[in-house]
Symmetry: D4
Subunit: 255 residues, 8 copies
């Protein structure tokens, strides 16, 4: 979308006679609806949720084109659920001056022209029950860091060895919000919520087999939890990271 | 919402200097989003989908208040899924000059100040497999008639007695679109779609018991049908009636 | 089925004594049931729903045989859900004079002897929320075009960027009916239905993962929608295209 | 199990003093429970349900061993759900004098030492809605023929072309029982049951995609059917064939 | 439908010139489709499946009217899933000369003008696992007897006390087909099928609570059974009874 | 079943000539199958699982008759899931010399002629997460005590207040096996299993609402648990109590 | 639990010789585990999550006892999901000096001895799509206010009339966090999340009928949402209110 | 965790003045919570549940590292659900002095430095219905033997050939507890439970196809069973083995 006028600018031009009411009507119809409705779009810009490209299901050509156009526009772009094949293709087509950061464990690829995320303050803690949950936790970490918050992690501190949990929580105690990833029966978020006094987001992870396996028991368990937690979809590390980063910035951030 | 300015009016006033850009910005923010976005809201008015009040779950006081305010504004109001108790309460509080039309079988109550639906032309055919499907069919009929289309019905012509189906379809052959309501295995819409050359909307009805009872088998069967039909939710006579009436008006209507 | 007599012809021959009642009885038993029942089969022919061959699950030999026999009989044949392997086999066996149109994205292969679809008028608009929904949209487009309607498309205009939706709808405003394809939460059909005054068919697309992923949440959301839309099965681009083309021809078509 | 005494024999030996009560007690404990309970095990033998080996999930070594021991004992053995790899291995190890009959479409392999199934009379009709259902129908046919009944088939006569159904049923009219295989919405068994006056067994087939795909809608539809039919599990051609063959033998068979 | 001509009669009249081809065409279009298609409708009459009225969901007025018209036409009528209130209303409106047989346990009401079911021969055995399954078994018994077969029953012989099963089966051994009703884990039909050599129909009964309660585990268990049984829907005593009676008449009946 | 002979007795009589082989054959066919198969039925008697009458779904007359006949035969009888109405009827018909113990919370009614359960030793601990789980725990307690084990209970010690759990477990530490009842997310059994070194049986309780409410999340969570626990059906206090009592008797009992 | 020592106090006494190591060991074992593990329990106290009594499923006696003991200990107590009958019983037994606040719409009863919630600052916004969602919203409001935050509400501003949404959000713009309650297709939370830059918690509400009704479609839709929101269980107003109040206090509160 | 002090040691040092209360407080916070809470952790050690490494989903590097560190610490380590690729990698990196035992059928790999499991006494019986269930049974056997119990097995003795079951149970009669593995309809555990007087654990196995296939029908059937059994998740041989070994050790073991 080329040149972009704000509503006050348009109205000023109408008043000044440099824009006809008819043309103004057309321009207003083309504005983002939020702006028209007088909501402060600039605040959204400041909150810094980066555009994330869902690589899954995209053909390689489109993926490369989208990532290049985003990195050119914003300095950085993040692709999620990217396959090794897609990654190889993107890397092979990397424009000069752009560096790539591929995180295989969480299937994320970040391109950057040297721009780094602007710190917004706040700290997100990410906890996992087991080692199999780390891939989801790392997805949450990637997006939260991309949004400019600090991230602390404590992986593999699940309920089975609850004595590993207490020192871990002690170490994370400066966090403004907790993301807790757990598969199978998904108990850990509830336990953590009983031990800290900050918001806790539960992330069910698609481990476990048999009845209600693949994260479904974990999701059910978190939704039914007696503890006060909120939940995201199975394996939705991205959503958890984005919400947590935004909340952490509001609680502990610079503004 | 009191006085209401259109976007052209507002812009004209800015140009004329009778409205400041700042006030204009506020007024524009208060406009219906469709209008701002230059879509023809008037067309929606012409298509005549009436406001329908879902009575289920509403307390009696709110229900009466909402229905009275709608009938006053629009001349007619339709309440769906109304209980006998709610109906009695609404009737007891009926303002003078307002008449009520209660259709127990489909749990619909219509209030009117004498206004009748404006005919938009077009004809909707409504077919049911059994007698138990009639309550849903009648809900569809009520909304379609309220929207100004003609309605033809053929009830209880289900597959079990397919010889009853042929003369029924013959009788309905002027219809512009068909609504076919069926419970249990929900076969009838597919059969009808194989015999007519107009659009067919399948409505699963919550009859049947046991595995996938209560309309779920019918829904599944209609979604999996080899025939070209579209489907609405179980018992969603209202939605089927509204879509069919709008489509019939476009196919066979006066405009 | 060799020689084919209509019911009036048979009866005339009985009256004329050129056909015995017993032979007539046998011939009548062999007639298409619709014709016997006095329904206008010719109308179905005019509506032009082409025979579509579901390639999925067919062995290569049968597939080639069926497609050849259809293209010979009708001038064109369309195969859906065809694999690259099946396509290669069909192409390798292509009879002279037959051309093939393979659309990988929607897994459709069309064979033609030069015959083109006969225009029936009417316009179908196809909208997708994201890029992953295009494969289903293209299946709908293929069948609608095959049936002789015009098709307008607006892809990747999903709710996340609702400001992209308004100009898209403006561009599609001549359409007689809308097909809206969306995965994950499947919101777009409801939003579109609130902004246009033509019928809207929602097509859930099997994107999304975790709880109710693979299009199930989208299906549920569309069936529960407060907006007046009808729905087809997950990924059922073909059904949506066929219903929309037939309806568009009735609303805006030449006859 | 070596030498095998019947209960009367054991008791006679006790009476005659050639067997001690204690030894008799042990022998009785080792008898088949049915025999002990005085049920006529021989009847089961006469009904001729062959031992069927479920190949799926068995390692090759065990499969070969089991099939060889069965064919040696009974003259014939049938393996179901066998993979091409398993088949190759069994064929490679075929003992001399044993012939193999591999039916790829229904994944069945039959070994025989020349023994042929003993005719028990009766006729089973097998009908399929589409071509994709044939693999299940053929599994039913294999087991029914193995049990000694005649089998008539009419494939691909589904509801979409109901005019193909009537002559097919005419051709099958000598059947004692019908097996009707159908996927997607699974309507055909109900339709057939309305047109014949013999028992009908519905077999849902795992075709169809999306909501309740893979045969689930067909199963639901058959269980909810208004017609009087019984049902077997999705793709359970074997069970349908065995029940149908036994019933056909009772209705139309020689004994 | 008043006067009714058969196809041969119509054709003869055309030949004789007493009927014009055009009128003949109309009459043929009004014929039952089965007859037109040359299927022997009379066979269906001989098989004697009575019309059963599903009382559930019908208003009292319609129910009485339907039952009266059926009993007048056929001498007998059976209503299923009738409530005590509906029964009271029907009894209160009983025409003179009509007697009523109300079976509370299976919610069936039979009206008769003195006509009794015509015996067709054959014997159906009905077995239940527990006492809670009797209500479904009795529904099956009612319809089977109405269709003219003999019925033997053995109730409450479930697996828990398998020693009660053997003498029961001994007592039922003349049966031509078995209906076995069981709730909870639904094992009994498989066990019976292992002990008899006649067809077995499993009827899941909606007992049991918790996970897959209300008959769902029983349905699943019967569909997954290694034994050769067919299944009907949960609580579908009627369907089981009708299929069993028809099959028994074919196996053991007089014709 | 009157007079009852054991297999050795029968064989001895055959040997002695006081019983003919034919009569013996009949008697043997009437024996409990376990005994015939040489399994020690007497052990089952010693383990003392009482006959439990499931009152739910039984008519009052049958219930009274069954309970009276059991209490007469065994000295005690236990009815589960009994309604207040059924209880009132049973109490009204109480034979002289029989006392009743009605436990409303777990819907159990015990009749006794003065006989008390014979102690078999062993101790069962029953723990509940909340107060709503007590009704299920009490059902387990009733059956365990009826079977002659000691029962210790600790109710309402759920995870939310884990500091209440430690002293409770300390108090229960003599137990041979633990039954842990929990609804909603069902975490407690896993936690207890991590803290004790005796077998733990998880009992999901049908509390909780919304997604996977009514005990389904608890069941899923327990089945997916990383801890080594076994599980029974939702609300199946009876099954848990019976298994636990039997196991406790084996571990800690007198024999 | 009477007198309560902190860990430092106990250790000081050991050092001082006023407490033996053995007694100290026992006291330490009795401490809340959080405290032992050196987590600041006092912080939890300051965060002020009140004890909420789930009335559903509790007998009246227990409910009254629990509520009285809580109100005596804490000055206030809140009971959720209370029935009118339970409320009447609690009110009838109200101790002198205690006042009751019964909110029928959300089934909450609050007892107080005059104590009011201590303000912790922060503002929670609660939005509902329709009027049927208000009962859940009010539950959230009750707990949030009880925890000392300010609450702003905008009810019935659902997507159907999106023009009602913009002024509502404008009015709520001081909020620190948003709770958005919606049934049926549950779209509103995603829409709100696209328009504000604060955390949004989606609450599915159990309205809607048919397939995935009762809030299940709404839950699925929110979990699958492309927008960055977190979710609680269906109808879980309490959990949403507690999390939101805690977060709001952290973002906008006094400390 | 290096050096480890017990609570009594710490308190003694405080009393003796060799440890400050502050340092003591920190040490206590670091203790295993069980110990602090005065539970006998040593008992857990004695029960000998070995650490089992879930290989599924772990990358090869981590897997090797974890297994090496465990075998070094404990003398033995068991990995479950290991792939052939993972196994090859672990074997290639095998440290000297360590031997490997790979059991392909149950996907288990055991490493040992020569240490053998310490016998704890007790006997576990493992029974399978078919040959496909053996892979799960072998997983149970591996863990039970690793825990030091004796294991007896009887495979492929399913219900279809119940006469094979009796001698098998006779052979297993010394067992202290039974694990019964069964797929499809999952009947065998209930049957076994009716024939033995020891605890029975049912293990549903993911065989079977179609409706409720893959072990779901078996799970449902076992949970709904009238017999007194407990259940573990589908294919959860490990859990069954661990619980059974622990229980067997308590019933029949040396202590």
């Amino acid at each position: 979308m080329p040149e972009h006028h704000t509503l006050p600018e348009i109205l000023a031009q109408v008043r000044d006679g440099t824009l006809s009411p008819t043309t103004a009507e057309q321009l207003i119809a083309g504005l983002p609806v939020d702006e028209v409705a007088n909501l402060d779009l600039a605040r959204t810009d400041r909150c810094g949720i980066p555009e994330v490209v869902l690589a899954e299901g995209k053909d390689t050509g489109s993926l490369i084109k989208i990532m290049h156009s985003y990195v050119r526009a914003a300095g950085r772009v993040i692709a999620s659920r990217i396959t090794p094949e897609q990654t190889a293709a993107v890397l092979a087509a990397l424009p000069s001056g752009i560096t790539a950061d591929y995180r295989e464990i969480c299937r994320i690829l970040i391109l950057s022209d040297g721009t780094v995320p602007k710190s917004v303050g706040g700290t997100v803690a990410i906890v996992t029950a087991g080692t199999s949950d780390i891939r989801v936790a790392e997805e949450a970490r990637a997006i939260a860091e991309e949004m400019g918050t600090a991230v602390l992690t404590a992986y593999d501190v699940g309920v089975a060895g609850i004595h590993r949990l207490f020192p871990a929580l002690e170490r994370l105690k400066e966090a403004d919000i907790y993301i807790v990833c757990a598969g199978r029966e998904g108990t850990l978020p509830s336990v953590v919520a009983g031990l800290v006094n900050k918001p806790v987001i539960g992330v069910p992870v698609s481990t476990g087999y048999g009845y209600m396996g693949h994260g479904e028991a974990a999701l059910a368990s978190m939704l039914q939890s007696c503890a006060a937690i909120t939940v995201v979809n199975i394996d939705a590390g991205f959503t958890a990271g984005a919400v947590a980063a935004r909340t952490a910035a509001l609680i502990g951030g610079k503004k």
